[in-house]
Amino acid sequence: MDMDDNQNGVQIAPPSMVRMVPFLVLILFGIGIYYFHSLEHIAERLTESEQTMKMADSIRHTLKVSILNLRASEAYLTALSTEDEELVNDALNYMEASLGFIFSEYVDVEPLADRVVPLIRENIHLIETQGLAATDERMQKLQQNLNTLYREVAQREMSIWITLQEDFIQFQSNEYRLQLVYQFVAAIALVF
């Protein structure tokens, strides 16, 4: 008995459909790469995000160290000119608070702690011991410590900022490379 293709529902795919198969395979391959890449990098991206947040926080805290010591200096100078004991305490509080920011969660605390903390400690000691009876020599030392502190803090802030920029450039390059892979796969699929 002859088989009637039409009646038995057995059909051969038309040539255009056959040509679509590699295209579909490539699309699936591209999607597969995408998902594989995404899954592989979820944990990595989370870590990167946390590190970026930490660096942003560190820059913020670094600048606060400068700002608080500047305020301390202003408060102390005003205290001396107005003979206001309370402003001496304010100056000490600002300096203490700047230590609090250094020892908060920080991307890399050693460079700042090594160089800046001793300067702040010395200035706190100078203010505590001399109070409103400041001498020129001690005031010069205080100012000298502050100038070194501002310089160190600025360098630290710059260093974190450069790391942040480098990480961002690396991230952009990786994403660009991935984009090229997708485009390449899509182009091959279109050719077929």
């Binding site: 608080l68 509080n93 608070a97 230590l99 609090g100 020892f103 908060s104 969660e105 903390v117 400690r121």
Partner: protein, 161 residues
């Protein structure tokens, strides 16, 4: 080698920091705005603690560890030191960072005004004299993550409005 020079240096500074940071309870916080009648406009830590010091153990995402935090609940603080019509509390820190709380927050969330950590009063150098924590932090909860900026330190001023 067990300890790298980097770790030793950090450890040394943290030790030095802990030794020289003498936390006391003499710090004061300014109250402004709708302050309850008869209340001082400068509060000592003892006055704040006198309304009901409680202690809990909680994880702090900023310190990346669990500590024992003692202090008073914000709702109790507002009820005690603010007028009944207070609808906003603005906390200001020594670096002028400001955070505002509404009644829905202090009634629905447990907001602790921390005055002691691990049994000791906290100084400016250790994020005191008052800091805020919201116990029970869960990093998977979006609401908890959103509230992180409200975990402020070194509070020097509270404004009741």
């Amino acid at each position: 080698m067990l300890h790298s020079p980097k770790l030793v240096t950090t450890g040394f500074f943290l030790f030095l920091f802990a030794v020289v940071s003498v936390a006391d309870d003499s710090a004061q916080v300014r109250l402004v705005g709708e302050v309850a009648q008869g209340m001082d406009y400068r509060l000592s830590i003892q006055q704040i603690e006198s309304i009901g010091l409680i202690e809990i153990e909680s994880y702090s995402p900023y310190d990346k560890r669990a500590d024992r935090f003692a202090g008073v609940w914000l709702d109790q603080l507002v009820a005690h030191f603010g007028k009944p019509e207070v609808t906003r509390v603005t906390m200001r820190t020594i670096d002028d960072y400001e955070v505002e709380f509404t009644p829905s927050e202090w009634k629905n969330s447990r907001i602790l005004m921390v005055t002691r950590v691990n049994g000791k009063h906290i100084s400016f150098a250790t994020k005191g004299p008052i800091r805020i924590i919201i116990p029970g932090y869960d990093p998977r909860e979006k609401a908890h993550q959103v509230s992180l900026p409200k975990w402020i330190w070194m509070i020097t001023r509270m404004e009741f409005r």
